[in-house]
Amino acid sequence: MSPEKPLRYRYFYRCFWALLCLLVPAGAQSLILEGLVINDQTGQPVAGASVYLENTTLGSSTDSSGHFMLRIGAATADSAVLIIQHIAYDTLKLILNEALTRYRFRLTPLVRPLEKIVVEVPRDRTLLANDLPAAVTIVEASEFEGRGYIDLGDLLRTEKSIQIEEDLSGRKSLSLRAGNPEDVVVFYNGLKMNSLYDNVFDLSLLNVEDMRQVEIIKGSNTALYGAEAFSGVINIVPRVRQDYTARFIQKIGSYRSGDWNLQLNYSPLQNLSLNFTVKDAAYKRILGNRTGFLENRSRYLSGNILYEIHPSENGNRGESINLMYMRVDSDHENNSFVESIGDENEIVALNYKRWSPLWQNMEISAARQTLNNNQALIDLSGTLDRRFANRRLSLNVQNRYRFSVVELISAYQFEDNRLNFSELRRGLDENPQGLEAADIYQQRHGAVVLARVNTALGEGPVSRARVDFSYRYDWIRNSERDVLERQGARSIFYEGEQQVNRWQAGTVKFSTNIGGRAKNLEYDFFMNGGSNIKFPTIFNQISQPSPYNPGVPEIVARLLPEKNRSLEVGLSLAQLFDAAAVVNEWKLEFSQFTNTYENKFRNYYIPGVPLAFYENVPNADIRGLEALWKLVFIRRIMTMEWGARYYDVSDRAAFPFKNAVSVTAALNAHYAGYRLQFKGFFESKRLGWLRDVRGDFVELRLPSYYNFDAHLSKWYTLGPIRLFASFSARNILNTRTVLEGIAIRDRRLYLGLGVEY
């Protein structure tokens, strides 16, 4: 027997156990309470409401469509009290006996909801609750937990306004609305994750099982969180406090992937909650003809300590302190030649919130982040050793003050960044130029004021109106220290501070939003616009200005901030019908936007020169149309969604390989704990301009692509334990469209099993 076999048997046993769990039928004789929780005023479903019996541990929560299912032991007294609770609504209490006769449960909002539909401002504890309204897509945990998504990039792959690029190492970058990856700012628990070097974040570093929801904020209308998000923000809201004690999910799937995730929640005191998550994942892709393999491993740890010094009834007027820790280690190995890539990402963050009559809502956050990336590659043609060590210290002070219909938000943000960078290239037949190593320091300050008038005008065709206005000012200082430059055959070391770049700029934004209801047709209209600014990244600063090309005199290399102006209008219509009708609801969303760039950077490389070149296009623009149609039918059991968008990019060298058209279709159904999801997507050809030696461009068209995913999952309740099983099939049509991004486009199958206590 080969030494490998016992190991294999062990895995077989594990998988057998896991399968057994799947097959265990729902246990003892018990009652099932099923229902739909809706907003009393709008009739919209309420997601994430806790449903439990008083003085017991028995509980459940509503999913994104407002449904819940609660299994109650037969011994439970009829006089037990059912509680339905949500942070933004009045708590509903009723006798179980009475609850069993009902299907709909109505919650009264604490504050009358003013924004709706397209302009869905996430309300509780999330980063963007206070920012200007924008087109938001929220992907909730119930749509992805335990399913076959290997990381965040894999999850967002099928969103219509998103394009994910993946390279062979599994690194994924995201672009939104035909912009570039550096135009998207990724936040995790309110902390900016983008690399200091090129302002891009590798989405494969985040654990989807740790997320409560993912918010995709489209458009450049965020004022509180920086002026750099030209095409949008991805905000990840982690699970800080959950209503279960422990949850374990094991996934296995294609490419020998295995992924387990354990979450623990513990509240030793009523106002103290502790939360801990650990995840270990790996996948291994064997290269054709067994010539080698690609292996990816990652380990993820996170923990939260939330102490509510003065717990609040409505979620706002309390005092709390939250300490968060997160660490990800990820490794990639390619043994067809010797290549290894390692990432270490660590965050420690402290957040303090307080409500006082004088200042009202005050929030202070401080964080320390490190992001290290090491790449080593040895091949016949040479060796490369590249290291990035990012360190970011950040402080964010924010105050929200409200009097009557006016709300005033002011914030100050400070970042102190350090990047230690080195790129050793050896034995390569090339012209040694550029920076080999440097320490780069960056300090930035941002101050913002946001004023909002928010009025409820009562029932009628115009029942709500809102106007927002913001002004933001940013300062930035960059300096290089201890620079090692490649110059011909030798390297030259310059000690001390070298180049210092300083920039500062102010940006203005506005937003208006009106909505109302005519008969049972609800409408919402918004218009927003403003200016944005993005300072040159470290990558831009260490690149070489492109030689002047007399053929295109307007294109000159200018190391100055990129500017952006945007204007977006959106309209949404929704109609709600009686729950007994075949069609319960339909919703139509439409938006049109224009993003105009000034001084847009274009970077390129020349073979044999290990140095990037940059030039600036005076004007470039992206125009787009987005539409969504959603239909909820058969007692809200089924939801269908069609999405389509069209983006027109003026400069395909500045925004290369964006697809113009994307169409998505999704079908969701849930019944008796089962949930079925189908997602189909089509993207048109990706067009990009490639530069030739003379500085002219040739268009390259990459093929169009379509495919579909299916997910089936089921929750079982077994006394205090809930069991979960899921099956996911990704990219079911095994098309022969070959592009980079192999894991994203290949047919893959996943099995997920979970248990929750």
Binding site: R8, Y11, F12, R14, C15, W17, A18, D167, L168, T245, A246, F248, Q250, I252, S254, Y255, R256, S257, G258, W260, L262, A281, A282, R285, L287, G288, R290, R297, E339, D379, L380, S381, G382, L384, L428, D429, E430, Y604, Y605, I606, P607, G608, V609, A612, P656, G688, L690, R691, D692, V693, D696, F697, V698, L700, E740, I742, D746, R748, V755, Y757
Partner: protein
């Protein structure tokens, strides 16, 4: 509590980060090379066409059947920027033929097969045919001389244009008098003699008909040692559309009457002279 512990134990037992159930393979395509075929008009052998990939600055010569293969030498991930993007021409060059080119698109350090002039299999879509611009024929008389021969040798060169008109550079003393030729030993190409007339210089000439040049060389100017020698005239065809990088490959003096000129790929009929052999 007991339940939690037993549950935790069970969970750790079933946890795994590897499974043998889905042992899938991937086939990332390596598209680091381009192949193709070149033909020379009016020629039987297609050997020695200089094939050059600009940008990457790599070259090869065609085999007798005209086939060639160009390969990007570096692993894409070792290239600047983790893989270069760009549009690069492959140039086909034989001096007295029209310059040819094919467009290749490179994305992330690899050729994009199925785009521009490259087909899905990494071959240049159609056979490249280079039009002949000019025939260069040389004759010498007498073609055999004894060691003690003391008379003059006459070299005749005929240029026949194959297209309407061709701009060339030749070494000329006066109208239609050839000013310089290379005399190269057939046994050893390093045994090279420049034979030039006084006051001759490099001149630009338009060839739009069959044109003849003549040169009278004294025995003293020819090699002393017996042997067989090729007589090669200096005729450089003008290629205004030739990229500077390709021009530079052959040296700065390749367009002048210099040793570097002989490094250019050409198709000429040299005249042979035999000295001192019976």
């Amino acid at each position: 509590m007991k339940l939690i512990f037993s549950l935790a134990a069970l969970l750790l037992a079933v946890s795994c980060t590897e499974n043998f159930l889905f042992d899938d393979e991937i086939e990332p395509r390596t598209m680091l090379s381009v192949e193709g075929n070149v033909r020379l008009q009016w020629e039987n052998s297609y050997e020695g066409v200089y094939v050059y990939l600009e940008g990457f600055d790599i070259h090869t010569l065609t085999a007798a059947d005209g086939s060639f293969k160009l390969e990007i030498p570096q692993n894409p991930r070792l290239q600047p920027g983790n893989g270069v993007n760009g549009a690069f021409y492959i140039w086909y060059y034989v001096d007295n033929f029209q310059l040819g080119r094919s467009l290749t698109l490179v994305r992330e350090g690899q050729f994009s097969y199925g785009h521009a002039d490259v087909n899905d299999k990494g071959r240049i879509k159609s056979t490249v045919v280079l039009t002949k611009l000019i025939d260069i024929a040389t004759a010498v008389s007498p073609s055999v001389i004894g060691e003690e021969y003391g008379g003059p040798v006459q070299i005749d060169m005929t240029l026949t244009n194959r297209v309407d008109s061709v701009y060339i550079n030749i070494y000329e003393r006066k109208y239609r008098e050839l000013g310089g030729v290379y005399v190269i030993s057939q046994a050893d190409s390093n045994d090279l003699h420049f034979v030039r007339l006084e006051n001759a210089r490099n001149r630009a000439v338009l060839v739009d008909s069959i044109q003849h040049w003549q040169m009278i060389v004294e025995r003293d100017s020819l090699p002393l040692f017996p042997g067989k020698y090729d007589i090669v005239p200096f005729v450089k065809v003008n290629h205004p559309d030739m990229p500077a990088v390709l021009r530079d490959r052959f040296g700065a003096n390749a367009a002048t009457f210099s040793r570097e000129f002989l490094g250019l790929p050409r198709r000429v009929l040299p005249a042979a002279i035999t000295i001192g052999l019976r």
